[in-house]
């Protein structure tokens, strides 16, 4: 069962001025982080349960927590997957989605089935340098998602056959 109470308590503990300003001893900072991570995991179950009911899909849902360093095992290894964008704001938002992938050409379709402009860009060297303990995506799939107010949109992503690598430059 998911719940938001665990995160509520963790955030409550983290209202202490040491947590807000980052002036705690290291082992206390580690404890704040652990509490927040456990609370977040409980919330993920809650969100999954809600989205499962609303979307009618009971396929297990993954949350990519290391997108900032282009790590997401599911999108890196899947040829076909779907992305749900939940918008907590009370107005529609456009949001650039960046997903780590290893293919070079994908089709992205929005809920109605129409194609979305997307492109694949290489993962920067700086990112590769800092993710030494996991993640092997060479590229990122980028597209602009739109989500309704306090609602969600689901985009479908499929790998199109990888394009051949570019021909080497001709001498001279």
């Amino acid at each position: 069962d998911g719940d938001s109470e665990t995160l509520r308590r963790a955030v409550g503990v983290a209202q202490h001025h040491d947590a807000v300003s980052g002036t705690a001893k290291q082992h206390v900072a580690d404890d704040y982080s652990k509490r927040l991570a456990v609370g977040s995991a409980h919330c993920q179950v809650l969100v999954s349960n809600s989205l499962s009911k609303l979307s009618g899909s009971s396929v297990p849902r993954t949350y990519c927590e290391k997108l900032n360093i282009s790590v997401c095992p599911l999108t890196e290894s899947s040829h076909e997957f779907s992305v749900t964008v939940y918008n907590p704001l009370s107005r529609p938002v456009d949001w650039p989605v960046r997903l780590p992938v290893n293919g070079t050409h994908y089709t992205v379709t929005r809920p109605g089935g129409s194609l979305v402009d997307s492109e694949v860009v290489p993962v920067s060297q700086a990112t590769k340098d800092i993710r030494r303990d996991g993640g092997y995506a060479a590229n990122e799939l980028v597209f602009q998602a739109t989500a309704p107010p306090m609602g969600f949109s689901t985009y479908s992503v499929s790998l199109v056959q990888n394009r051949p690598p570019p021909a080497p430059p001709l001498p001279g």
Binding site: V59, V121, I130, Q144
Partner: protein, 278 residues
């Protein structure tokens, strides 16, 4: 050719000699600011004749008012596509940045990566990024308080007492919860942050934001540890974050930065499911 990022709303240029940002243009309002952005570090004080107070977890106290540039130049690589245009900037082995402009975006994204901060030279470092513009800000800048009220900050001044400024840098630093800006009659440059940070405007037209700190001594305020989290590899933490820049007339700036800050604080939650969509 020097890289240029451009969409229907913004145009961003880079200095061909240094690889640093050189200007930002709002194509809708036809406003351009000269904009130089670079990364610097303040040398953390370990105490001096005026005070034994070192810089530490509680106390920000650089030992000089002049920050040291991480590098005077950046190696750049540009990538221009239709959905996103990016310029990668490498300022050295421990600072890099991606300047990013999406197709329909009215703001410029700076994704900075700082760390592990080297300290083998024996200097604690407080790393900042500084944006220098030609905006005539007259000693004023603005930071928000928990996203609610944006407060005017005046350099070397407190509204309720006569200030004798003894710390020209730290004494002018203020908390940023989501945004900081400078403005003049014509234009306003707003920086929206993705986390609470510290920031200031030490010179007119300039904005600076603290990004990362790694210190070697405790500040005697109770924590009992130097601010130097070793990280998983024992060499210090790498931190990555984003700044969003908006250039607007002052009269329309609030609408822009409120929308931007909301979309960062309450950003969409992504989840992924394997297999075809059913």
């Amino acid at each position: 050719a020097p890289p240029v990022l451009e969409n229907q709303y913004l145009r961003v240029t880079f200095d061909p000699d240094t690889g640093l940002l050189s200007s930002l243009t709002n194509l809708e309002t036809k406003q351009t600011v000269q904009l130089k952005q670079n990364f610097y570090w303040y040398n953390a004080s370990v105490g001096n004749r005026e005070s034994i107070q070192p810089s530490g977890a509680y106390i920000f106290r650089p030992n000089s008012s002049t920050p040291v540039p991480v590098s005077l130049t950046a190696k750049t690589q540009a990538l221009k596509n239709s959905v996103v245009q990016e310029v990668y900037q490498q300022f050295g082995p421990w600072v890099s940045q991606v300047v990013r402009l999406y197709e329909h975006s009215q703001e410029l994204e700076l994704e900075w990566t700082v760390g592990p901060v080297p300290v083998r030279d024996g200097f604690g470092k407080e790393v900042i990024t500084r944006l220098d513009t030609n905006i005539n800000s007259s000693g004023l800048f603005y930071t928000d308080s928990n996203g609610r009220e944006v407060l005017e900050r005046r350099r070397d001044f407190r509204p309720t007492w006569v200030l004798k400024q003894t710390e020209p840098i730290a004494g002018n630093y203020y908390p940023i919860n989501s945004r900081i800006y400078i403005k003049d009659q014509e234009q306003q440059l707003t920086v929206v942050t993705d986390r609470s940070q510290g920031g200031s405007s030490i010179q007119d037209g300039s904005l600076e934001i603290m990004l990362h700190r790694r210190l070697l001594v405790d500040d005697f305020r109770g924590v009992g540890e130097a601010l130097s989290e070793p990280g998983e590899y024992g060499e210090g933490l790498v931190v990555r974050g984003r700044l969003l820049l908006a250039l607007t007339p002052p009269s329309t700036a609030a609408e822009t930065h409120r929308r931007l800050a909301e979309s960062l604080v309450l950003q969409p939650l992504l989840s992924v499911q394997s297999g075809p969509l059913r």
